[in-house]
Amino acid sequence: MLAEKNILPILWGGVLVFSALVMTLGSDLKWLFEFPESLHVPIAEFLDWIMFGFVDLFKWLFRFISRVLEWPMRGVQGFLEWLPWLTFASLATFIAWQGGGRRTGILTLVLLLYIVIVGYWYEGINTLTLVIICIPLAVLLGFALGVWGHKSPKANAAIQTMLDFMQTIPAFAYLIPILLLFGFGPVVGLIASVIFATPPMVRNTILGLNRVPPEVRESGTMSGCTPRQRFWWVEVPTAFPQMLIGVNQTTMAALGMVIIAAIIGGFEDIGWEVLGRLRKAQFGQSILAGMVIVCLAIILDRITLSYAKRQLPTESHTGLRIKQFIVGFIGISVISYILAMFIEPLRVWPKALEFYPADAMNTLVFNIIANFGDFLETSKNQMQYFVLLPVKLGFTRSIFPITWGFALTPTIIGIYWFIVFMGAAIALYFRHWKIAVAIPLIAGVLYFGITGVSWVVYLAVLPLFAFSLGGSRVTLFVTGSLIFLMVSGIWVPALVSIYLCFVAVAICIILGGLMGIWASTSERVSAIIRPINDTLQTLPQFVLLIPAVMFFRVGDFTALLAIIAYAIVPMIRYTEQGLRTVSPTAIEAGITSGCTPAQIFWQIKLKLALPQILVGINQTTLFGLNMLVIAALVGTTGLGQQIYLALSKVDAGGGIVAGLGMALIAMSADRMMRAYISRTSK
């Protein structure tokens, strides 16, 4: 321990000096700043070669599966289209009521009516078709894998790693091999959704089964159960509430993926509608269609969640008994069907009655842009000039008289570095060596920009950073990931992705942290923020792009907004939760020791909430990276764009490499953070 304490500052000092030397003396050496091509390894080509070999061998099998899956899909689709909307809506409402009572029922009905009236019933039903087929497949697969993982520790280790990859590799990336194997068409979306939606079910199954109290298990054994009886009668029912949470998460993941997979096209679903309208810059239409996605998301979420909650002891709503429920179900089907047969608008909503105010909304948007265009443009530019560009390109390449009002003269550069060194020196004087290291590090990044720092410096700094946070295993992982990003030829786009995500996460931490603190002190604020957070998190990520694009067109800034909207949620949540769950005893102890309110906040509340807040930061980072790829749809550069391009060219190797790169960045960040969290919470 003592040795480690002495070694780390020395190592950091060495790395800082080395980095400074590289950045100053080596500034003329081109190979330091562009990762040499001669070191590239043709990973993408290799993957292509494997992929095509595999496809040639097994294409028939996958095409066969695709054919087989197409049947139920077309069947469900045809059935739902044939079904009068009234029957569907009243049955869905009935199911929602059975699960969650009157409020859930009414909410479901109202949202479904919106879809009907706005005229997107057909598209909505097509999306639902995919989700409805995806859920049982993902739930069964997830349950089976979860049980396997629960029973065998070896399988569990493998499953956990697999889940990490399944959830961190961007969905776009694995659409490509699926496309190659299964051929174009909606089945691809279905398969991708199953892959994407299975992990939460696996995790919750394992969690639920692991949490069965040992005494309950033993009581099963002592009651004379055979192992099979014990599993189905004791363990599964006890873990059931947790598994239903899994079903809820699986459902939401399935919907999200079905929407994303719409970019392949071919199923006339609602995701395709939104995307198409967005591409044509028809904002009114895309908002109306986007709202349909929102409705579907809320309906699916509330219904599945209500059934999960009904298992909790505190829930009072129990619904009908199963026999009564079936009778009611049949009754409602028959009555609503007969009604729809006699009254045509109850079967198919007539075009004439549709309420589709897209044009009015477009006019409104144009008016807003016309009136506030200058303001929007200015705020966008300010953000670009003073935040985005410096982080991306560094002060050296972003400070110009037109934007900043002054040029970066040698005097100013001198002053800049003088302040930096003074800061570091002061920190050192007060024996805060970590701050003394951080100041020049951050200053250096801002000066040269994330894309302007030599890869050699990254290779020195990041592994040491990982080592300081989490020890040798994490270091190994981070170093390996860095090398992969470099030799596979995606280093530059990777840096661009990291830069955008870095800015977004930093803003999320500051804004989200403040909002979390605010919400923790005021019930009213908390009550306002919570439903907004819930909605932001239930929405398929895709939808968040619409307003951002509407007002700011395509570009980094737009992507930034969309990423922040999605990734800020965990930061707010965990900060609030962390602060709220600080034990009252600790606060009372503080008060009786004579702490001022400020002292109580900084030294007790924040300290005790820190582990939770760190978890929030970790989640925010992962969410940000996740959203980054979706944001590529609105024209960011970086890895997301690489994946997106690869998808349009069906370039399996390139797509997988870029996707793996994204996953490795996410997993590196996650591992470093988790290592740090487990250390601080000890």
Binding site: E215, E218, S219, T221, S223, G224, T226, P237, T238, P313
Partner: protein, 350 residues
Amino acid sequence: MPSANSVKLSCESLWKVYGNTPEQYFTGEIGSFNVEEKFQQLTENGSIIACGDVKLDIPTGSIFIIMGLSGSGKSTVLRCLSRLVEPSFGKVELDGLDLLNQSPKDMIEIRRHKMGMVFQNFGLLPHLNVLENVAFPLKAQGISKNERLARANEMIDLVGLEGRENSYPHQLSGGQQQRVGIARSLAAEPEVWFLDEPFSALDPLIRTQMQDEFLRLQKQLNKTIVFVTHDFHEALRLADTICIMKDGQVVQIGTPGEIVLAPADDYVKKFTSEVPLWKIIEAQSIMEPPDGKDMDRPSVKPDTLLEEVMRLFDGKTEEVQIVNESGECHGVLTPVSIIRALYRDEKKVG
């Protein structure tokens, strides 16, 4: 009906060791080491000895209590006896049948018909109501629904839970939940009844009440009981025989009186120091030889507690005589002999 002294359940050189390949310590050369050597070797190799070299004989129809602090191995022993935990080494016999040699299938049959168990945190199934929970062991046996619900209803009456049949565990108080646990463990009419700290999770007042009910039930049912507790007072109150465990080993086995009057070592003595001795010591264990005098004095039975005897000393009485069932005088007690016993004459008690 087997005699009161016959052994129902027993174990011998029972070991449960967690760690690296403990098997080697019970076979081959090291296997022949004595107990202390094994303890030392196992500890040095980093294994954890949950229980070591435990030998118990549990008589038919009696309450056998295993008492020890947490980590003493008492729960492990209980779970080895029911084979919930697979012992590392040793022998467990139920009615002379070697339990450790039973196939998993046979073991299920034995648990279905001969064993019942009550758990500290009740171990109830959260998704079943009281009636279904109690009927659960019968469901596992494949007994028809009507029959098992009828039997479950009887059990519910027995533990005094009439009217709560349709409640779910989370709607019940701790004491009620444990009544469900007790009813369930008795539903299949077991011969051996295991109770693992059944009353430890309950409030003190409820605990005493449940202990009384437990004694009432046992009077009615006459099961062979293995009862684990960390509460010495509870053990004294309920036990026919107490086994005290420490660090995985048995320290002393005896009746409550024996343990209180003759603690095997300082560890046991510490438990007994705060015990109200007059509630445990029986007249026969401290009486003095009869003096042959034939005077008018109160007489008591040999197993009368001192508490009762003391009440008889009014202003006139100087002696109490102990008389057996056929009326013979066995011995006498004087205030001095009682004071000496309660004061714990070190020399005499040793």
